[in-house]
Symmetry: C2
């Protein structure tokens, strides 16, 4: 489950509702490319903007369209009570794994975060991926806390927010985290611009935003890195530098939703207010980049 390319598709949503048909089309692209797993309702899947019923519906569509490819879904919520309900929904809907970030309103202590994972994993019968994403959760995991949580039952993977850009520093980082957790727990890199560096440094999985829209390109990089062609994988990632720059500037969600709109896969607007689409000049620049990449 937690190896190779895990592709995180968009959930196109605006003030009139979720575009279910477009969502299914996005899933079908992932199936056709043969990604290793699908991360429905990740940050890119706008889970935080949808209510419980909407999250269940989108997950059901994903599982139904995935043709046997394992589907992971986020169960993150501010209140534990809601996390437990979402975990129940996920299991009943046929998710193969769940993803949990310690999102919060009042800042959480290490003890509160540990207890959250303890309570949730004790009620699960499918594996859980720890979602370490300080950019949205504003919580900073120490390796010591990662180690304590990874010892809990049903923990399968840790989704880390990135690695240092220097390959040797990245290897040192992964080695240090690996030393804190049991061997059966995998490490998956996110932050697409770091992905190949992370895979080359020993991450077993890439939890990918771009892979949710352009699975074939991301699979190519993943397989090269997995097969030991580190330099060739880095070369392909470097070609995408203009995309990574836009990700850093505007956030990957705004860029990928604009790219999906430009590609004609979803209609505009595809983000829930207060989120606004990419501004017109960035969108024009993105159009150019996408054209160049296709040539």
């Amino acid at each position: 489950m937690f190896h190779g390319l895990s592709a995180f598709p968009l959930t196109p949503v605006n003030e009139t509702g979720i575009d279910e048909k477009a969502f299914v089309t996005l899933i079908q692209r992932l199936v056709a490319a043969g990604v290793d797993s699908i991360g429905a309702l990740g940050s890119t899947g706008n889970y935080a903007y949808l209510n419980r019923e909407e999250r269940l519906r989108v997950l059901q569509l994903a599982v139904h369209s995935a043709e046997g490819i394992p589907v992971m879904t986020s169960i993150s919520a501010i209140r534990t009570l809601e996390v437990l309900r979402l975990a129940e929904d996920a299991q009943r809907a046929g998710a193969s794994a769940v993803l949990l970030a310690p999102i919060s309103y009042q800042a959480l202590t290490n003890e509160e975060v540990f207890s959250l994972y303890e309570q949730v994993t004790s009620s699960l019968s499918i594996p859980l991926c720890v979602y370490d994403n300080p950019g949205t959760s504003h919580f900073h995991f120490s390796d010591e806390l990662h180690g304590r949580i990874a010892e809990l039952p049903n923990i399968g993977s840790i989704k880390i927010p990135g690695v240092p850009t220097d390959p040797e520093a990245a290897k040192t980082r992964i080695k240090k985290l690996r030393g804190s957790i049991p061997p059966h727990v995998t490490i998956g890199v996110s932050g697409d611009s770091f992905a190949v560096t992370g895979l080359n440094a020993g991450c077993e999985a890439w939890f990918s935003v771009l892979g949710g829209l352009f699975p074939q390109a991301c699979l190519n990089m993943t397989r090269l890195a997995q097969d030991g062609f580190a330099d060739e994988a880095e070369r392909l990632s470097a070609l995408l530098e203009p995309i990574w720059t836009l990700f850093h500037q505007y956030g990957s969600l705004r860029v990928v939703s604009a790219a999906a709109e430009i590609s004609g896969l979803i209609s505009s607007p595809s983000l829930p207010l207060p989120l606004q689409p990419l501004n017109p000049s960035a969108r024009e620049y993105l159009k150019l980049i996408l054209n160049n990449l296709q040539e």
Copy 2:
């Protein structure tokens, strides 16, 4: 509405639900003390952990028990659609004002935050208080943005997160913000330890956590500051220094909920998981502090 002491009561809530009876008792204390307004369902009122129905119910209880004292309520939510629904509920339930923070999952741009306030205020018939609380919203307002938002219709006040501890620096800060906003928009200080300094520096209101539990003590400080007895107000605030220290160490919510439990006003646990109560040793220390203050 946005002058004097605005007291923010707790909403006692745990895994079995909301303790409505205890909540009403807390409101009755505020009424008996004669606070200037009540901020139901602020951060201290656990709004972020309650669903729409629960927020409506708590607001109705507050308005019903307030005996004519104006009640403000938070309408903050991650999605604009939900903010608009909460605004409707608040108006129908008889709130005199609403409080809105730009809480988010994906970090918001200045333009997105401005548009949120623009859209919400255009649908309101009661005033709105801008809730500037980077500690929970992770959004940092510039004075320029405060100025643009304050020009919108129905903006009544700005709840700022604190002022510099030095009285002269506090005056400079308030003067600068005042210069950016129209004269009919008041400035209210929050962060209780800064409150008297803020009032002495020219803030018209104190949006108070401690005032939600100990309204009389906070009213005394407010009236002294409002009547020009700056030093005497500072002296009373300095007596509470042990409380302010605990606020900074554990978060005001955990401390005030423990204080309400110790005072026998609400039963334990009174916070929703994953939030945990104050640890036993801090609780013992708080008990000592409260005893000393009562002597």
